[in-house]
């Protein structure tokens, strides 16, 4: 009975007793969710345009963050470092398109997935050789990002503290999603991109350059990665540990669907909030640290009931 009480009732009692704490927890989860969503966004971009599940998105985030910080440490001013980091992501995109995507066009999905895992390995090695393996501090204030915090009083019930950088992260994520939506739906390249996503060969036959589109998409994913890297780096450090965290984009995508940008956002928020709340209110029952796997289990349970994802249509199998 005690057990059941601890699982089913006590956490909710705690939530009601200390709403300020609950709000704080949900906010933390929300911000983590925004960052998951940003990583997932990078995945979705590439998946939409080339059907590739880009395992390397996580390391691209690390790589982008490291380039920025690394350049700054070498004495480059922050604004120039930012521009150079964008340049590096562009070069990376072109290289990936030229040396990985182009030779592998038309291969089964699983082969492409494995190629991106190979890419991950390569980039980890490269990043460590160039920048060293130790974690680095993000140059938050140098980039002009807010660093303070605001406390909101909740009457008698305590107070909630919001970090400005977190608010900035949410705003930037929102702008990015908006920008991508416009890019996808309102521009010529966006239309070409959707055509490529539907059918490579058909897109080629109406004169769309696959190579160009793919380079652009990888570049866009690189920009998203850079933004993610800055935001994430500002909250913790820029380190290769992030690469494991980025795997959480996978459950996010499963909730939201591999091709849906709003899905990535909603999935990210569900996972982010779900795992924070789960860790704080239930994690203690089993010794804590359940954040490392809760996201996957949430996605797993979800999949068992809806194998097609949150927004997917029911799959009719055909032969």
């Amino acid at each position: 009975m005690d057990m059941l009480y601890n699982i089913l009732i006590d956490p909710f009692v705690q939530m009601v007793d200390a709403p300020d704490f609950l709000i704080q927890v949900v906010w933390e989860g929300f911000v983590a969710g925004v960052l998951y969503a940003l990583i997932a966004l990078g995945f979705v971009l590439i998946y939409k345009a080339s059907g590739v599940f880009n395992f390397a998105q996580g390391i691209m985030v690390v790589f982008a963050g490291l380039s920025l910080v690394g350049l700054h440490q070498k004495g480059v001013p922050a604004w120039l470092a930012l521009i150079l980091a964008i340049g590096i992501m562009a070069i990376l995109a072109v290289c990936i398109e030229k040396f990985v995507m182009r030779p592998l066009v038309g291969q089964p999905d699983i082969i492409l997935l494995m190629a991106t895992i190979g890419m991950t390995y390569f980039l980890i090695g490269l990043g460590e050789v160039i920048f060293g393996g130790e974690p680095k501090q993000m140059i938050t204030s140098e980039l002009g990002l807010p660093t303070g915090s605001t406390a909101f009083e909740m009457g008698e019930r305590g107070l909630v503290i919001l970090q400005h950088i977190d608010i900035a992260a949410a705003v930037i994520a929102l702008l990015m999603v908006g920008g991508l939506a416009v890019f996808f739906n309102r521009t010529r390249i966006g239309r070409a991109l959707r055509a490529v996503a539907d059918d490579h060969t058909a897109a080629l036959s109406v004169g769309i350059s696959l190579n160009q589109i793919w380079a652009i998409v990888w570049f866009a994913a690189g920009i998203v990665a850079l933004a993610t890297g800055i935001m994430w780096g500002a909250r913790s450090d820029v380190s290769f540990a992030l690469e494991i965290v980025a795997l959480k984009a996978l459950p996010v995508l499963i909730l939201g669907g591999f091709t849906s940008i709003p899905g990535a956002i909603i999935g990210g928020l569900i996972i982010g909030i779900g795992e924070k709340v789960g860790e704080i209110y239930w994690g203690g029952l089993v010794g804590g640290g359940i954040e490392s796997w809760l996201a996957y289990v949430i996605a797993l349970v979800f999949l068992l009931f809806r194998p097609q994802g949150l927004f997917g249509e029911k799959i009719i199998e055909r032969i």
């Binding site: 040396f99 990985v100 494995m114 090695g125 460590e128 795997l247 010794g287 996957y296 797993l300 999949l303």
Partner: protein, 358 residues
Amino acid sequence: MFYREAGQYKTTYAADQQIFPIRQDRIGIGVILVLALLLPLVASEFMLSAIAIPFLILALATIGLNILTGYAGQLSLGTGAFMGVGAYSCYKLVTIFPEVNVIVHILLSGVFAAAAGVVFGLPSLRIKGLYLAVTTLAAQFFLEWCFIRISWLYNYNASGAIEVPGREFFGTLVTGPAAGGISRYYVVLAIVVVMTLLIKNLIRGRIGRQWMMIRDMDIAAELMGVRPLVAKLSAFAVSSYVCGVAGAMFVFFYLGAAEPAVFSITLSFQVLFMAIIGGLGSLVGSFFGAAFIWILPILMRVGLPALGVDIAAETVFQVAQMVIGALIIFFLIVEPHGLARLWAIGKEKLRVWPFPYA
């Protein structure tokens, strides 16, 4: 010229269905086995302990993964965790029943890994492809968490690590810090060879064909009477069993002590790379892949300084990682079916030599 099957007539189906129908192959495998047996005569302790033993164990783990991913077509990113289950169960068994032979424990520990594999394989009945990767990731992170949090698993050691006690096999010390490389090598070699043979038999029989049916065309397989439940879960069970045994051996015959970080996702990826580079769906490829990924960094560490390149040890590791990453992409582009396919093509070319085609 010397690799030609002309004149080797098969008069029974049994002769036609043997593992190596071509005589030269039988001679070849015999020579390799003899060389493997003679290796300790020439090899240094370092070569046995740091190269040969881990290579054999990782090859076995790769075979385990290959059963699931290469033969049954279910992508797994949780190999490391399943190896961990084997290692931790073996440790518990050895400490709870110290009087039972350690080899028995090693073989039994796979059963626990198989059970874990079946539990995490259950979702595969509804989930396919990439979605399944999430299931195995859940297994990876959940089990890793168990290894850290459940202190009963490591007998409440302050270090949080498992340390292998010394155990004897036929009067010779085979585990623990005092065991010599040669005795450990022979035990590992024996287990790996026997298990490879059993798995080869399994794969070319009814069960193996069922796995491949599910892999190649699951709907057609089901309409031909294959129960997806049985086929998929048996693949998960056998695969995890093999991985579990490999994990137990990894700790007991190679590392000597292990903390949970050993069985992290890095190990899962390492084994996956071995399977990819070697060739998915090939047992001989598993050995090629394990040799490649395990030995290449060692060769670089030993070789680069010898060539006069002066670099730090950790840089070598990082460069090796880059090289492996690049090679994986290279292989996927040039030959997506890995070293095993290159090997097969080579043999086919030899068979018709000096002509380019048969």
